[in-house]
């Protein structure tokens, strides 16, 4: 959204803008009544949706337009990661790993759990590019690849917390977060694991979202 601006002009704009933001923010925060605590599960679920899952449009590798929250997240167990077709460092490692994870989970993928990979460079990843990328990993049904508007995908990335506190690193897509977010939306269960962790362990972590009652002991 601001790639055409130089860093210097960004800094200049930053210096003049606080007033507008300050006024808007103050009005917003002080007008809410307090005393009624909305700590019901239903209220918590809505808050998570509002804060973390923007309902922005995406295009799937099948050419279908979907809305992120309504069609991909709501009511489902999901995994979310980012890639771009020409990424030659972290993405191939994560994608190869997720292909192994899909094999381990078998036909649960697409029925009980849905895997999503979203392009971080939608401006260069058109439908053909994400289709070809998906095929190169022999992704099976239930593992869907998406592209969309750059600003919408930024909202998703920030919403699910795949950001760095250091702005320079956050802007550098070659260093993008290699984690995989996994969760169960209706149960409000969310976590993340490194996309380059061992595939069997990633698969085991994902199954907790379908079976949170799992018992486990590790023999040494």
């Amino acid at each position: 959204m601001t790639q055409d601006l130089s860093r210097r002009s960004l800094l200049k704009l930053a210096a003049v803008a606080p007033l507008a933001g300050g006024i808007a923010g103050t009005a917003n925060a002080s007008s809410k009544p307090r005393g009624v605590v909305e700590n019901t599960p239903a209220a918590a679920r809505v808050r998570i949706q509002q804060k973390n899952f923007p309902n922005v449009p995406l295009i799937s590798h099948e050419g279908k337009q979907v809305n992120f929250y309504d069609d991909l997240i709501k009511g489902k167990v999901v995994t979310i990661n980012f890639f771009y077709a020409k990424c030659d460092e972290i993405c191939p490692l994560v994608s190869a790993n997720l292909a192994k994870v899909q094999k381990i989970l078998g036909d649960q993928v697409g029925r009980n759990i849905f895997m999503y990979s979203i392009s971080l460079k939608p401006e260069e990843d058109n439908l053909d590019a994400i289709r070809a990328y998906r095929e190169s990993w022999h992704a099976g049904p239930g593992w869907t690849f998406f592209t969309g508007q750059p600003s919408d995908i930024e909202k998703i990335r920030k919403g699910i917390g795949f950001t760095y506190p250091e702005p320079a690193i956050d802007r550098d897509k070659t260093q993008h977060i290699g984690n995989v977010r996994y969760g169960n939306e209706p149960l409000m269960l969310w976590a993340a694991c490194p996309g380059v962790a061992h595939a069997p362990w990633i698969a085991e972590s994902f199954t907790w979202m379908m079976h949170p009652e799992t018992n486990r002991v590790q023999k040494s």
Binding site: V37, P54, E154, Q175, Q218
Partner: protein, 664 residues
């Protein structure tokens, strides 16, 4: 060829990341960005020139949901990362401090399983009755005389959900706590009063409600770690042994000194005595949520010297009247005053409300005499520098004494005006209130921290006089707002009064030892032992993934094997730029040999520890022994958000069989 600051070869990509980080820091300074506000806004503009939320610092805010609430003066609001909305104001110091009771014992014949059916404890796991434990109890199998089964003291803790008040300014909050059958469901849980030589057992039952009644965060799947205990692996509360609702684990705590069956038979080395331990949930990937939700408590361990009675032994202030446990936590609340947890951060969670023993900014009425306080940082991610503040003379740095580091008594008390701890660290301090008769004084945190990176790195984040800018997010209520280092002046930006002490004016008897007389406690065990092996652990961030030696947590993967009863030297190296990582290793305490090649400069670091802060670009050498027990244990970052994102490695101890892996 590219090298890092340690002269080690790194990839071109890694070098680029290091260069970028350095360039970014220089740029901030060169651009004259001197207020926090500018820093937070930097580079985050919409096409229309409007500011958007600085989500790079926190995932809580989505673009467009900016909030720049200005906390009212005197509300003691703290600074939050980015433009995350501040918690609603609270009135401080109107509720008394929660002092947790000691738990009631449960007769062995009354122990039940998760379904309420009487279930006697067994040495090997009673899987049929719903017990989830990795192995048979080592202690009674090793020495049934020393470690009888069942042991003399037995407790039953049902981990349950409850509603509590954390501030009279907010409504009730949904938390998780421990129910001993007598005191209700408490968070923090009851404080165990344990004794060396008297083994005990806790049956931990998962009686949490099913999802989604949990209400937004928390995984009702648990494993309870007793932090710092010299415990056999199957009772340690390992992150990889966890169980769902309706199941339980019997955890046998031998309360025995390290060395009892190895270097110092038959009773162990008195210089390895522990005193302030804590228990907390350790469920892999969900520890941050479950501890934030309340699953933690204290475990105080006494012996013939540290007796809990000021008339005997070391004459430390008597437990429980003058020996008080203080668990610190920072939290965030939404605009309705409901407790929030950011499920979507990878960096760490920083709250703007400070709780002591489960309540925001309580007060505590004290007598004008000496008290022992056991200070614990429960995290998730904040570090503290504690000061004793008298608001009638805020520039004075008032002295107190540190007597224990991570619950291990120092050789002698150390007089300080401040002490710093990070997540999971403890310090025991002696405060003498006799000089404050009739006054009100405060325990204050003056350490500035704005995100999960750790204390604000000196000079990298210059903050100008906040009064020059009326739009500051964190108004300066007392000082002039200048932050030249990570420690701010009393009342400055980023500081917080944590606990108010109201000192009675009536003189009372004090039978406790005066630290000015320089009493001697234990000696530090010798580190002059050749290590069997030197192992190096590099803590790093690879594409945003928290790693140990380039690898990630996997419960199925034992990364290395330690030989039982051997000693090792570990080198902990922090390659993550400006981040500080509090690294915790289970089973025994270590001693810090060097930091970047030099012995520790702080007197309080000449101690046995179980968490070590590894600062940016630091290389810390530590000395270790692994005695008496076998089985699996972890090493991990105790910024629990990093821990939950795989900054952990599993290793194990076997008899006569250590490997020679130098970089596990």
């Amino acid at each position: 060829m590219y090298f890092n600051v340690f002269g080690e070869k790194v990839s071109r990509k890694r070098y680029k990341e290091m260069q970028n980080a350095a360039k970014n820091r220089r740029e901030l300074i060169a651009a004259g960005l001197t207020s926090r506000r500018d820093l937070f806004k930097m580079g985050l503009l919409t096409a229309g020139g409007m500011l958007v939320a600085k989500s790079g610092l926190s995932a809580r805010a989505l673009p467009g949901q900016q909030s720049t609430t200005i906390p009212p003066s005197g509300s003691n609001q703290n600074c939050l990362p980015g433009n995350q909305a501040a918690s609603p104001p609270t009135t401080p110091f109107v509720v008394p401090l929660n002092v947790m009771p000691t738990p009631a014992q449960t007769p062995v014949g009354s122990l039940v399983n998760g379904q309420g059916i009487i279930t006697a404890p067994t040495i090997c796991p009673n899987t049929a009755a719903g017990e989830v434990r990795a192995a048979c109890h080592q202690a009674p199998e090793l020495n049934p005389t020393m470690f009888p089964f069942p042991p003399p003291r037995v407790y039953q803790m049902r981990q349950m959900q409850t509603q509590v008040s954390q501030s009279p300014s907010y409504g009730l909050q949904t938390v998780w706590g421990f129910n001993d059958g007598t005191h209700g469901t408490l968070s923090p849980g009851p404080t165990y009063s344990a004794n060396y030589g008297i083994p005990q057992m806790t049956r931990n039952i998962n009686a949490l409600p099913p999802l989604p009644e949990v209400g937004g965060f928390g995984m009702p799947s648990v494993t309870t770690h007793l932090h710092n205990a010299h415990n056999p692996s199957e009772s340690d509360g390992n992150p990889c042994d966890f169980y769902g609702i309706g199941n339980f684990a019997d955890q046998y705590y031998p309360n025995v000194l390290a060395g009892f069956s190895s270097t110092n038979p038959p009773n162990g080395d008195i210089n390895e005595a522990l005193s302030t331990l804590w228990y907390h949930d350790h469920r892999v990937d969900f520890t941050s949520q479950n501890t934030y939700k309340g699953l933690f408590g204290f475990y105080c361990l006494f012996n013939q010297f540290d007796t809990g009675n000021e008339a005997t032994g070391f004459h430390l202030p008597s437990f429980p009247q003058f020996d008080i446990q203080l668990a610190f936590a920072d939290k965030v609340y939404d605009d309705t005053g409901t407790l929030q947890f950011d499920l979507f951060t990878l960096d760490g969670i920083i709250g703007d409300k400070f709780l002591v023993n489960g309540q925001i900014q309580p007060f505590f009425n004290v007598e004008p005499r000496r008290y022992r306080f056991r200070l614990l940082d429960t995290g998730p991610s904040r570090f503290y520098s504690f000061f004793l503040t008298d608001l009638t003379n805020p520039t004075a740095n008032n002295p107190f004494w540190v007597i224990a580091n991570d619950g291990n008594l120092l050789p002698n008390p150390v007089e300080v005006t401040t002490v710093r701890i990070g997540p999971a660290e403890r310090v025991d301090v002696i405060i003498d209130f006799s000089q404050y008769k009739g006054k009100t004084i405060y325990l204050e945190n003056r350490l500035v921290q704005f995100n999960g990176q750790g204390p604000i790195p000196p000079n990298n984040f210059p903050v100008a006089n906040a009064n020059q800018n009326p739009q500051v997010e964190c108004p300066d209520t007392l000082g002039n707002g200048t932050i030249l280092s990570d420690i701010a002046p009393s009342g400055g930006i980023g500081t917080a009064l944590l606990l108010q002490f109201n000192v009675s004016s009536k003189a009372v008897h004090d039978g406790s030892v005066d630290p000015r007389t320089n009493p001697t406690f234990y000696q530090l065990p010798s580190t002059n032992v050749p290590p069997r092996i030197v192992r190096t652990f590099k803590f790093d961030r690879l594409n945003g993934q928290w790693s140990v030696n380039g690898q990630f947590m996997d419960c199925n993967d034992f990364r290395f094997t330690v030989s039982q009863n051997s000693s090792e030297q570990w080198v902990l190296t922090n390659l993550t730029g400006d981040w500080t990582h509090p690294i915790h290793i289970h089973l025994e305490e270590h001693q810090i040999l060097t930091r970047n090649g030099l012995p520790p400069t702080l007197a309080v670091e000449h101690a046995r520890k179980d968490v070590v802060q590894v600062h940016p670009n630091e290389r810390v050498q530590i000395f270790f022994r692994f005695r008496d027990w076998v089985g699996k244990y972890p090493i991990h970052c105790h910024n629990v958000v990093h821990e939950d994102h795989a900054m952990m490695a599993l290793w194990h101890i076997v008899p006569n069989g250590g490997d020679n892996i130098n970089v596990p």
